[in-house]
Symmetry: C2
């Protein structure tokens, strides 16, 4: 089966907008037999597309599967490099593991690994992350900005802003960001971001941004114990979302904001981040690697560091922590 | 060939200090035939050890090969974890590549990859590094400290101090450190350090410290073009050094100073670093990733950042750069 020819046929069907395409015309254009056309159409149907054969007219695409495949994402993209190389798996252990592995082997700047379902999705601090089939966005993005590793941590905030903006654009929801990068809708978590770094002391080799978004889950998709803290876009808006549109929008904004950060520094990103933030000005408890602090979150610095004013007046800069609003 | 039995025989020979060990005694103790003992001795000789057979008395070790094998390093170590797992290659492409790869596969904290000769040794910024056979120390150390990635960069200074101290202890040379981590003897470079990081935003997964030390090279081992800037310990001191002793001492100090840094912060390391430094107070040119700056190096901060005072009075913090004393 020639994948390129299959993609060309699918792309013609997608572009035809309901007008039948004749099998003979496809065969002539692609210089293959009618039998081969028929075999490719069979294979496209196996992927979940519904194709109707109309006598003497040709083939019409009747429905598109609810999948986040490259051929569905690409036409929606407005990026220059992000998502121009997409590695797609119907199911995999963890997009983050795959991305880390292909990044080391030289996967190009902007490569996206995306899947319908993860069997071993993971979040920050090796916590497991539920990523059930066809209901969310589970992807990892590989970028290779020319920056020192000291400037890599801010990408976690860049990503949060890009996803918040994309959700705002494509749904009825208005997300907030809890420092550093949890997206909340109506106070419940809808997104997880995990940023990993491969670097030497001079230069970032790759940043791998793992993005999980709960999109079309119903409330019973979440275990009882987390129903009060986790949610999906569908639960909060009532609407079923085309995940492909949201994926493309996230990639658009992520490329845009990454470029802004690399070219103009953190200041413009910080202003955007602050416009979504629900942490600053609040009393919080911060669980750090080695201690727990309580106080008022007063600002973030140009390094993306959270400044916490303790009860004794002391101000502490926090690089990473679990934050609880209290 | 059972490697464990070979190591046991070698260890007995090394421990016998010139007193002959009978082949029958070895055979009895290890519960193998005299023929097998003889085959193992043959294999030990193939590694470069010289063994003399004295009639009716037994075997004596007459000379030890000039190699940095685990069985030679281990007896010299005083560490708890560093070098307790040594991966040794007579020749390899790059210890740093091997270390990065086994680190991702879970190699334990403190693992050392060491070789006699690298065919593709590399330094900072993908520069090649000449690492000729049996003349230098070419090794990579994997450590997994429980710290945030923001505190990883300082390990490059921790390493510089450890190596400087080890050279001071085992040779007649007094090295200086040019920020951040070049060791100079009489103004010429004797050591390269390359620190790489695998991390997520919460935690360091591994730091891989690549260490290259020019030890026993003669001046003609260096290309004409770098003879004015590169040197070896032998060139500067006139003495041939047992590399194994220096390797063990480097690992001892590296473990000690790493522990101090993780437990007590950068302040004590900074004081040590300053005692070796030949950069602070000097006029320098700094080639950064995106620009070149000139000015006076005035101090290093507690983050290991070099503070450079430009001619207009402005003070700039430099995270990483090539520094030239001018």
């Amino acid at each position: 089966m020639n994948i390129l020819i299959k993609e060309k046929i699918l792309s013609q069907l997608l572009g035809a907008q309901g007008i039948p395409i004749s099998g003979q015309k496809l065969a002539d254009e692609l210089k293959i037999s009618r039998t081969m056309i028929w075999k490719h159409l069979k294979s496209i149907e196996d992927d979940g597309y519904v194709i109707e054969a109309i006598k003497k007219k040709g083939y019409v695409l009747k429905s598109i599967p609810d999948i986040v495949s490259p051929e569905r994402i690409t036409p929606n993209l407005q990026t220059e490099y992000l998502g121009r190389n997409i590695v797609y798996y119907p199911v995999c252990d963890s997009t983050q593991n795959i991305a880390a592995s292909i990044a080391r082997e030289g996967a190009p700047h902007g490569t996206v690994v995306i899947t319908e379902e993860q069997t071993a999705g993971r979040g920050r601090l090796e916590r497991s992350w539920d990523s059930s089939a066809n209901k969310g966005i589970w992807m990892s993005v590989i970028i290779r900005p020319e920056i020192s590793p000291q400037f890599a941590a801010q990408f976690t905030l860049v990503s949060a802003v890009a996803i918040a903006r994309a959700i705002e654009d494509t749904t009825k929801c208005s997300p907030n960001i809890k420092w550093p990068n949890d997206l909340l809708i109506n106070g419940k978590k809808v997104t997880g971001i995990l940023t990993e770094l491969q670097a030497d002391m001079d230069r970032v080799q790759s940043i791998i941004i793992g993005i999980g978004v709960n999109v079309n889950q119903e409330i019973d998709a979440f275990e009882q114990s987390i129903q009060s803290i986790a949610t999906s876009i569908k639960i909060e808006s009532g609407d079923e979302i085309d995940r492909v549109v949201l994926v493309a929008k996230i990639l658009d904004y992520l490329e845009k904001y990454s470029n802004i950060y690399v070219e103009n520094g953190f200041e413009p990103i910080k202003i955007l981040w602050e416009s979504y933030n629900c942490t600053i000005g609040k009393r919080i408890r911060a669980n750090l690697l080695r201690e727990t602090l309580e106080g008022v979150a007063i600002s973030i610095t140009n390094d993306g560091v959270l400044e916490l004013q303790l009860d004794n007046g002391e101000i502490r800069g926090i690089y990473s922590a679990d934050i609880h609003l209290i």
